[in-house]
């Protein structure tokens, strides 16, 4: 799990950094809310999910990226609400729509992407692409580490 992937772009946080943050959050979660109580299953799942996204943003350098900054800010805000980082509706203002002369299908697809990338709503298209690329890399790293954890903890 912690083996450094030499091929990985230096721009992307190391898996160990994410794993470190994530395990620490899980450990804190466990102390606050012991995992052996059978109730509150969904609450726990939500907390774990949130811990994963927040750890990813921290591993990505916290506020050095627009998406990680947006993600952390939102995580702070809706601390006890259902966490769904990817579902923020963003309405295209008519002014913005008019000012775009690119093919409408492209703009539509870009708008959909804005809803999926944290903080994407306020991004210039070029910035959106850059942040999306980084976000995807981090997200797949996160999935890989979580999968490793699940595999490691699953009864053989």
């Amino acid at each position: 799990m912690a083996s450094a992937d030499k091929l990985i772009n230096t721009d992307v946080p190391e898996k160990d950094v994410f794993a470190f943050h994530f395990l620490q959050s899980l450990s804190n979660l466990r102390k606050q809310n012991p995992f052996d109580t059978p109730d509150q299953k969904n609450y726990r799942v939500r907390k774990i999910k949130k811990a994963a996204y927040v750890s990813m943003a921290r591993a990505a350098g916290g506020s050095s990226r627009l998406w990680s900054r947006a993600l952390l800010r939102r995580a702070d805000k809706d601390d006890n609400k259902i966490v769904r980082f990817s579902r923020r509706k963003w309405k295209i203002s008519s002014k913005r729509r008019r000012s775009n002369q690119r093919a409408p299908v492209v703009e539509e697809a870009a708008e959909r992407l804005r809803n999926l990338v944290p903080g994407g709503g306020g991004m210039e298209t070029s910035k959106l692409m850059e942040e999306t690329a980084h976000y995807i890399k981090c997200l797949s790293m996160q999935v890989k580490v979580m999968q490793c954890l699940v595999d490691g903890l699953s009864p053989k």
Partner: protein, 92 residues
């Protein structure tokens, strides 16, 4: 002539179509599925963006499922089992 008018209307700095294609192709490189499926033909910008959205959605879904699995594992593990020892060592 109509060019001049469209220039005036957009005040925000916009990227040109060429820059857009460049960015999209960069995005395309990191998406394994898209990169492999059609390397030769040029995928349209909207297609790449769409597949990027799907890719992110899939990753989000995977995080959902893995969170659920982790929650189950952390809750159901038998305190005397080797798995519990792993958890204890991980979550000191």
């Amino acid at each position: 002539m109509s060019n001049r008018r469209s220039r005036q209307s957009s005040s925000a700095p916009r990227i040109s179509d060429n820059q857009m294609i460049d960015l999209v192709s960069k995005l395309r490189q990191i998406l394994p599925e898209i990169g492999q499926r059609r390397r030769s033909d040029k995928a349209s910008a909207s297609k790449v963006l769409q597949e990027t959205c799907n890719y992110i959605r899939n990753l989000n879904r995977e995080v959902d499922n893995l969170s659920e699995r982790l929650s189950q594992l952390l809750e159901s593990v038998d305190e005397d089992s080797p798995e519990a020892a792993v958890i204890r060592s991980l979550l000191m």
